[in-house]
Amino acid sequence: MLDEAGFTDISITRKGNSDEIIKGWNIGENSKELIFSGYVRAVKP
């Protein structure tokens, strides 16, 4: 999606404590299997 939008230097990094963040929301037992908290960085050329 970022690539198609024209960005470069794209990085997606999972936060080390992603499971802890997701668990803190109490949205379901398997939520951390479906989603993760992370950072997206990119540059417009």
Binding site: A5, G6, W25, G28, S37, Y39, V40, K44
Partner: protein
């Protein structure tokens, strides 16, 4: 005819409007519940990567504990830059950005929920910050001109959009050449199960 996207936006807007009102000292305060206590917001903020200094600063009155990371930490903000915060809420990240870019810099916060925009404007006035403004608008169609922003930040907002491709096209449009993106968000690890794909409640769980 209302589309699924329209419904998602309405549900998200209503959810965050109620949060803005319940956290407003002038509001009823009865809807916040245990999840919005100062201790819980502080604990969530530490998990998200904010420093103690940031969480205990007077700016933190704008922290509603709705983020999932600290996009400022990786944004490498510099004095004089123009920053755009997507889904700025009550303004916490925008205010941190305003501190980082200084008086010669500028921060624009965009939020589709008018109650959040009002709360952020109130917070900005209380904090005496003159280099930050808040605009009501949708992140799929930003009320911002072309190529006028140095950095786009966002904290746990783009996941709420039913058209993420449009959001990224808009981010690209408003950024100057060489402009940077620093986003904290939740992302899918794999395919979304069918039972969640059209579940409106899953957007605001």
């Amino acid at each position: 005819m209302k589309t699924f996207s329209d419904t998602v936006k309405r549900v998200v807007r209503e959810k965050y409007a109620s949060i803005a009102v319940s956290n407003n000292p002038g509001g009823c305060g009865c809807c916040g519940g245990e999840g919005n206590s100062f201790v819980n917001i502080l604990a969530q903020g530490e998990k998200c990567g904010y420093s103690q200094e940031q969480l205990l600063d007077e700016l933190a009155q704008a922290n509603l504990g709705l983020g999932c990371g600290n996009p400022i930490s990786l944004a490498d903000l510099r004095q004089g830059e123009t920053v755009l915060d997507l889904g700025s809420g009550a303004g916490f990240d925008a205010f941190l950005a305003a501190q980082a870019v200084g008086a010669q810099g500028r921060v624009i916060g965009v939020d589709m929920t008018c109650e959040m925009v009002r709360q952020a404007q109130k917070n900005a006035a209380t904090l005496g910050l003159g280099n930050v403004e808040f605009r009501q608008g949708e992140i799929e169609e930003l009320p911002v001109g072309d190529a006028c922003v140095d950095v786009v930040i966002s904290n746990c907002v783009i996941n709420l959009s039913p058209d993420k491709a449009a959001v990224y096209r808009e981010i690209h449009r408003v950024l100057k050449p060489g402009g940077r993106v620093s986003i904290s968000d939740v992302m899918l690890s794999g395919e979304l199960p069918d039972e969640f794909r059209n579940d409106i409640d899953a957007y605001t769980a």
